[in-house]
């Protein structure tokens, strides 16, 4: 959308103009050199940009979800150790993965040189949970209590086999850098609900299962070729939650207010002369910045959360930068109508020592994820909040490195993996898709990453084929030229 046009059509924000007039410090004290009419001119036409309404015609249809909380598990969690039990594997423990299963499919160069590919059954015990009888393993004691809220997709598949391209693919629909991320698309198409907070927020945390694991990249929440205001704003784990949010030491709120008024008047004066509407827009952006300096700290201040709520998210909830703390923030953002909230939890890349590492990861995410679902539900927010939980690909049934009674590792596996969804517009207590006995190939209802993204967009009220952006002569979209809605999981 043309920025100029958008500004030209934006409505005057009366309440903010009123605010401005009410701050009559300047008038009260008088300013001899300014004529009354000139001053009136500077003060009266104060405009503020209304919240970004998104593109015309969007949402394309009534949205089931007002917002999405995407809990990205970076590094790729092992599906057969968490959600997709393969009890038959115990009988073939240590045997080579049959060629009839592998079918010559490519492997990463981390294991393609291995002499054999011994089948490694999961050491975790699986059971059915909830009325729906969903299978989950015993490393997820809290989440399993929410089984009836969840919809598992066990037949996810993707195209990339290494982390960087694979996670980039999930986020942007393309393995290589340069395309907009899913949150940026949603921000571009749907605009903001809360003008005082970014429409796309990202929170990151390190896992304790594998503390120095796969990194993340700016591009994962970048705007690509979309206007940069749609890039995700990463909330930081130390210092200001939003970059440059705090006033410098020595500055107080009232001085800041006065200097912004002074700045606005000077800019307004130039606007009267130059007529460039961009000046007007600039004035309102400074007003917005001022308001964010209050709204963001208010958002991140959890001191008024009751103890039982804090407890429900587990022991790490008050440690900034943990997954638990981020889940609580996600709920607070959901309450404030942030459009796209994305958590990235690192540490799931378990090439070796998987049993121990995955326990650590599950300690990080199990309780907070479950608490977030419960918390949203009890506030009535789960109805219009979509939750997605998953990583960039799956892991191999064969062990990377030595297989022992108590230890094994697993390499990357793009051919199948499991994610789950919950909340707005999603069937509860459901499992969709299936994999073969070796958890290697999909046997039923394959779901491509493009399909998942199309479905997320759909629940947000967006036809993924319609949300396009012309760049270098082509109409680009998140799902490239692919993507099918997964109708069977929609409630």
């Amino acid at each position: 959308m043309n920025h100029f046009n958008q500004l030209l059509t934006s409505k005057t924000n009366l309440s903010s103009a009123q605010d401005f007039l009410n701050r009559r410090i300047f008038l009260r004290n008088g300013a001899a050199a300014l004529s009354a009419t000139a001053l009136a001119g500077l003060l009266s036409s104060q405009k503020a940009q209304a919240k970004d309404p998104g593109l015309q015609g969007f949402p394309n249809f009534p949205a089931k979800a007002k917002r999405v909380i995407y809990l990205f598990q970076s590094g790729a969690p092992s599906q057969m150790d968490l959600f997709d039990p393969k009890p038959g594997m115990e009988k073939v423990r240590g045997e080579d993965l049959p060629e009839s299963i592998r079918k010559g499919q490519r492997l990463t160069t981390m294991t393609s040189g291995q002499k054999n590919f011994p089948v490694a059954p999961s050491i975790f015990k699986f059971a059915r949970f909830g009325q729906s009888g969903q299978w989950m393993s015993d490393v997820l004691p809290h989440l399993s209590k929410q089984a009836d809220e969840l919809c598992f997709i066990k037949s996810m598949h993707t195209e990339a086999i290494n982390h960087d391209p694979a996670i980039t693919f999930c986020q942007t629909g393309h393995q290589l850098a340069g395309r907009p991320s899913i949150g940026s698309w949603l921000s571009y198409g749907l605009g903001t609900e809360n003008a005082e907070l970014p429409s796309y927020v990202v929170l990151t945390s390190w896992g304790t299962g594998r503390p120095n694991d796969q990194p993340l990249y700016d591009r994962l929440w970048g705007a690509g070729f979309l206007p940069t205001q749609h890039q995700g704003v990463k909330f930081r784990n130390s210092g200001d939650p939003v970059l440059y949010l705090s006033d410098p030491k020595g500055m107080n709120r009232s001085i800041r207010r006065d200097m912004l008024d002074e700045l606005a008047m000077l800019n307004r004066k130039d606007h009267l002369l130059v007529k460039d509407p961009e000046i007007d827009a600039r004035i309102s952006q400074y007003e917005m910045a001022f308001r964010m300096q209050t709204s963001v700290p208010e958002l991140t201040d959890v001191s008024k959360e009751p103890k039982h709520i804090l407890d429900s998210y587990g022991p790490d909830v008050l440690k900034p930068g943990t997954y638990a703390a981020n889940c609580l923030l996600a709920r607070r953002m959901a309450e404030r109508d942030v459009r796209c909230i994305q958590l990235f939890h690192m540490g799931w890349d378990h090439h070796g020592g998987l049993p121990n590492a995955i326990k650590g990861q599950c300690r990080d995410v199990d309780q907070p994820t479950a608490a977030l679902i419960k918390d949203l539900k009890q506030r009535g927010l789960l109805e219009d909040t979509l939750i997605v939980w998953g990583g960039e690909f799956g892991r191999t049934i064969y062990s990377q490195g030595k297989l022992t009674e108590t230890n094994y590792g697993r390499d990357h596996h793009p051919r199948c993996f499991t994610i789950f969804m919950a909340g707005a517009g999603i069937k509860k207590g459901m499992s969709y898709g299936a994999t073969d006995d070796y958890c290697y190939n999909i046997t039923e209802n394959p779901v491509h990453v493009h399909d998942l993204n199309a479905t997320i967009m759909h629940l947000m009220g967006v036809d993924h084929k319609k949300l396009t952006y012309p760049f270098q002569g082509r109409d680009f979209r998140l799902t490239d030229i692919h993507g099918h809605l997964i109708k069977d999981i929609l409630s």
């Binding site: 043309n2 920025h3 410090i25 300047f26 004290n29 050199a33 160069t109 981390m110 290494n162 960087d164 290589l176 850098a177 340069g178 990151t204 503390p211 990194p215 993340l216 700016d218 591009r219 070729f225 979309l226 205001q229 890039q231 930081r236 784990n237 130390s238 200001d240 970059l243 440059y244 949010l245 006033d247 410098p248 030491k249 020595g250 107080n252 001085i255 800041r256 200097m259 002074e262 700045l263 000077l266 004066k269 130039d270 130059v274 007529k275 509407p277 961009e278 000046i279 600039r282 952006q285 400074y286 917005m288 910045a289 964010m292 930068g321 319609k466 396009t468 270098q472 002569g473 082509r474």
Partner: protein, 1039 residues
């Protein structure tokens, strides 16, 4: 608008192609696989044929007979309606009428304008216009009923050209000089001055760095550092010396292939090495080789041709005449670089990935010559040493005989330590036993380290012998203190230390190990291998488990150096024994250590001389047979310190000095063509593992052929681009510079000149400029030098001389409404500066800027955690800001890590430089406001600007405010502005006089200390005024 269309003759390229391209070409365009109904509308030859439907799509002059017209006018829900409802494409009512009209008028086709060479168009007559550009612009404005604005005032104009040419605001004296200079050519002389500034190249480089995807890191997962700043320096220099654009192109794309290229010309090829390099564990090399080459094709295509070549990677291009085959034929020009296509093994640690060259500066070049000479000198010493080998051998034999002693007196190989002390770092207690061994008791920590110190009297030291002695107090096999009696010794350090602290300790470099017994997988030699990393947890080492050793009383391991060291007076022998294995408590339990002065050949040797040589040494030399003599010679040459080995060691030493020095000489990655080209194939669906037909190098048929006589390689391709007979190159560059100066290009889609390109707003002007660029006739001189072909400075100056460029940027409201993007140029350019310039300007106005040009990247302030919150891989995880001038250099030198790029640049629309980025967006957000208000750079700059106001602005408040305003905006404030500033200042001054602590805090941001001579309350109040000034819309805007 419809009436306009009705009157004038429709033109295919301007009026029709955009409609067909957007609405129809997807299925009826160049892509054969997608083609529906056998209909192709982009080619004149096909559009009039009968399609599968049996009817022709277009019948000239007969819209009623044209299938295309009947289909598009069908109701939307009709199955036959075009474009199909589910295609996401649509044609507006107005467009339908245009198509109909065009067919009525005869349906004349034209080739796509951008693929037809530009012709020098006639300059239109426009009243009052003197400059060719003004004539074109004025003519169109007349048609639109608009007028150009008056010339901008001198202050505004000077700031505009200074920012456009150098990226820096004018100094106050430059402003004053220009105002005072009333001569007719004052403006032109300013342009010449700025075009000759070393900062011109810096300003010009910014957009080119985006196109070239320049960064200081490799991208992808670990995103470690690389060195490419030498290429950036080349770029700045190339602009500054006004390298013509044809040379500029050839050197960057194929400088390595020029005959006898200069070092500079080779460095230039770094353009196509600025791409990312994947170093992720498990990556498949073939896959990423293809991606690397495609990145190069895409970047070259976007930068020079403004074509999206890689759209044809998986299938024929949907809109442009580039087939998939042609894409891979183009690919074949770029796939024969001598490279793997992925990150080198040491790339994660900051090393460049081959091919690269070392680029020493003059001083370094001198030093390299010196070092080369010293290597040569040392090498010539070897020859001399050869002559000394015979007498040396005789001398050695004599010495060896003495060492062997007589038959009845065995030589002493191993000697006991004297008065040694043993300390366990982990807290075990060691007691000396009668046999001279040490027994550990008490605490047994998981990973212990023993330190043995002993005064050392011998003159030489060659190695040590460690005996592990079994003890009844141990369990299991009774050698170690662990549960099973085993130990894992992982490291051994033998060195000489001195009481005199100034003397450096000498480490005995062990290179041979032998044990009387070693557990499988745990050989003593492992200890030698661990020497560089003694404290590493989880190391393997020498262990002794098994059934054999339990029968032995003692197990031995000896460790020997290649060459003995001479021991200076007053040395103390220090031996450290490490146990860093994963097995806890596996510490050696009872041990004895002896040392050897001379080399000992093996554990069971009776002397330092191998058993088989003992008898030979004892013989008289003249009695030795030739074979026997050879044996001794060989041993002497390889195992004993001798004149040649000493000379060789000196060569090694001088080579090492050379290598160490060269490691410090910066390198930069380059293109280096392999002698024989690699094969190229069409890749099915663009997949690396699905090669099909083999293809050779060839240029797309829709573009001109390779000029005659040019080689069909990368060099030929570069020359083809700038042959002057190419429809795209000159247009693309001219359009880019237009976009940079005016905000929007003549073709708005500066990134795409394909058939989806926007129709140029001034097509004749674009062509006129493109022809003028390649073959100048009107370009001005610069400092008296006539323009040359492809003269970048000349073209920029030419544009800047136009009234179009010089007019005022303010205009009536109605002009902003009618032409919000200022395409028609009825007013001067006005738009926000790039993030780099916003910062540079703040540094310049405040006097903080360090104007040094070129060199390695710098690390200015950055909030904590930007690098480390999301990445613990690679060598770029802990950001440490520079201490001194690195904080205040121009932003284009800021260290660029692709996956966590400088945040304040990203906020101002800089791309992350992961891939070629042809055009930045220009947004206006609250996060930008926060950065300018609160980022330490701007707060410190505000304080420095405040100091300038106080020190350079006289003593009167209004004079000081005027100075500040002028420094920030280059113009003088009017009364009203001054009053507003004064009011704010005075209020704040009162506040800070009452709040001393706050005042001190306010002026203490940044590394620079505030001026102590200035009153803190005053300075704090001015600092906030300066902060207001630096945030003014007109300051962060070029107007």
């Amino acid at each position: 608008m419809s009436s306009v269309w009705a009157e004038r003759k429709l033109e295919f390229n301007r009026d029709i192609r955009p409609i067909l391209s957007d609405g129809c070409f997807h299925c009826h365009g160049p892509d054969e696989k997608e083609r529906k109904g056998g209909l192709r509308l982009d080619l004149e030859s096909d559009a009039f044929k009968n399609a599968k439907s049996g009817f022709p799509a277009i019948v000239k002059g007969e819209p009623q007979e044209s299938e295309i017209i009947s289909r598009i006018f069908l109701s939307d829900d009709d199955e036959e309606h075009m474009p199909p409802l589910d295609s996401g494409k649509s044609i507006t009512v107005e467009q339908k009428e245009i198509l109909k009209k065009w067919i009525e008028q005869g349906a004349e086709y034209q080739g796509h304008w951008a693929f037809i060479n530009p012709q020098r168009t006639e300059i239109p007559q426009a009243k009052g216009a003197k400059h060719p550009i003004d004539s074109f612009i004025q003519k169109r404005l007349n048609e639109e009923g608009m007028q150009m604005q008056a010339l901008a005032d001198k202050e505004t104009l000077l700031r505009r050209v200074s920012l456009d040419l150098t990226g820096l605001p004018p100094t106050l004296s430059e402003v004053d000089d220009f105002i005072e200079d009333t001569s007719g050519d004052a403006y032109e002389r300013v342009l010449d001055r700025l075009l000759s500034s070393p900062h011109y190249g810096e300003r010009m480089a910014i957009e080119w760095l985006d196109l070239a995807r320049y960064a200081d890191s490799n991208g992808f997962q670990s995103d470690g550092s690389r060195d490419m700043w030498l290429w950036r320096d080349w770029l700045i220099n190339a602009f500054n010396k006004n390298l013509p654009f044809d040379q500029f192109t050839i050197e960057q794309l194929a400088g390595d292939m020029l005959p006898n290229p200069s070092q500079d010309q080779v460095v230039a090829t770094g353009f196509n090495r600025n791409h990312r390099l994947n170093g992720e564990g498990g990556r498949i090399v073939d896959e990423w080789f293809v991606e690397t080459v495609i990145d190069r094709v895409e970047t070259t295509g976007t930068t020079w041709l403004a074509l999206t070549m890689s759209c044809a990677r998986c299938h024929d291009h949907k809109y442009d005449p580039i087939s998939q085959k042609e894409f891979f034929e183009f690919f074949a020009y770029f796939n024969s670089n001598d490279e793997s296509g992925v990150l080198a093994a040491n790339g994660k640690n900051g090393f460049n990935t081959p091919p690269f060259i070392k680029v020493p500066n003059d001083e370094q070049k001198k030093r390299i010559l010196e070092l080369e000479k010293s290597v040569k000198d040392a090498q010539s010493e070897i020859k001399k040493a050869e002559k000394m080998m015979a007498p040396a051998l005789a001398g050695w034999i004599k010495e060896a005989r003495e060492e062997l002693g007589t038959e009845d007196r065995a030589p002493t190989l191993w000697q006991k330590l004297q008065n040694e002390r043993v300390v366990s770092k982990g807290g075990s207690t060691f007691k000396k036993q009668k046999d001279g061994s040490w027994l550990g008791t008490g605490k047994n920590p998981p990973n212990d380290t023993y330190e043995i110190r002993s005064p050392f009297k011998s003159k030489k030291l060659s190695g040590v012998l460690i005996e592990s002695i079994s003890d009844p107090s141990f369990k299991g096999i009774k050698f170690g203190r662990s549960g099973n009696g085993n130990f894992v010794m992982t490291g051994l350090e033998v060195k000489l230390e001195f009481k005199d602290r100034k003397k450096k300790s000498i480490v005995l470099k062990l290179d041979k190990a032998e044990a009387s017994y070693e557990q499988s997988g745990y050989p003593a030699i492992q200890i030698i291998k661990n020497a560089s990393n003694l404290k590493k947890k989880g190391s393997k080492g020498w262990a002794v488990h098994g059934s054999n050793p339990s029968k032995e009383k003692a197990l031995m391991a000896m460790f020997m150096a290649k060459t003995p060291i001479s021991v200076p007076e007053g040395a103390e022998l220090v031996i450290n024994i490490y146990h860093q294995s994963v097995f806890s408590d596996h510490n050696i339990g009872r041990f004895r250590i002896q040392y050897a002065e001379k080399k000992v050949s093996s554990l069971d040797a009776k002397s330092g001389i191998p058993e088989n040589l003992v008898s030979l040494v004892r013989k008289k030399v003249e009695d030795l047979g030739p074979e026997e003599l050879n044996q001794l010679k060989k041993y002497f040459r390889t195992e004993v310190e001798n004149p040649v080995s000493v000379a060789k060691a000196k060569v090694d030493q001088s080579k090492k000095v050379m290598d160490d020095f060269m490691a410090k000489v910066p390198s930069t990655m380059i293109m280096k063509e392999k002698p024989a080209p690699r094969d190229a194939f069409i890749l099915n669906r663009g997949e690396y593992d699905q090669p099909t037909e083999k293809v050779g190098r060839s240029l797309p048929a829709a573009l001109p052929p390779l000029p005659k006589g040019q080689p069909n390689d990368r060099l030929g391709l570069a020359r083809w681009l700038v042959s002057g007979d190419h429809p795209l190159t000159a247009r693309v560059w001219v359009n880019r510079i237009w976009e940079r100066l005016f905000g929007v290009g003549i073709v708005k889609t500066s990134e795409n000149f394909g058939s989806q390109a926007e129709w140029p707003v001034h097509p004749e002007l674009l062509d006129w400029l493109a022809v003028e660029f390649a073959k100048p006739s009107a370009l001005p001189q610069i400092n008296g030098k006539p323009a040359q072909a492809w003269d970048m400075k000349g073209m920029i100056k030419f544009i800047m001389l136009s009234k179009t460029y010089r007019q005022n940027s303010s205009a009536p409201d109605s002009y902003f409404r009618k032409d919000p993007e200022n395409r028609l140029l009825a007013r001067g350019p006005r738009f926000r500066l790039h993030g780099e310039l916003v910062r540079d300007q703040a540094l310049a106005s405040s006097g903080l800027l360090i104007k040094k040009v070129g060199g390695p990247s710098t690390r200015p302030y950055m909030p904590e955690g930007v690098w480390s919150e999301t990445n613990r891989y690679g060598n770029l995880t802990k950001y440490k800001a520079d201490e001194g001038e690195g904080l205040y250099r121009r932003s284009m030198y800021t260290f660029w890590k692709r996956t966590a790029a400088p945040p304040s640049m990203l906020l101002f629309d800089a791309p992350n430089r992961e891939v070629c980025y042809p055009k930045r967006s220009r947004t206006n957000t609250p996060l930008q406001a926060l950065a300018l208000l609160n980022e330490i750079t701007y707060v410190e700059a505000s304080r420095s600007l405040a100091e300038r106001m106080m020190k350079e602005g006289g003593s009167d408040i209004r004079d000081r405010l005027t100075t500040g305003y002028r420094l920030a905006t280059s113009r003088s404030p009017d009364k009203q502005t001054l009053s507003l500033l004064q009011k704010g200042f005075e209020d704040r001054k009162i506040h800070f006089q009452e709040h001393h602590e706050a005042a001190k805090q306010m002026i203490s941001h940044g590394k620079k200390e505030p001026d102590e001579n200035l009153d803190p309350a005053d300075l704090a109040a001015y600092t906030i005024t300066a902060n207001v000034l630096l945030n003014l819309d007109r300051v962060i805007t070029k107007d």
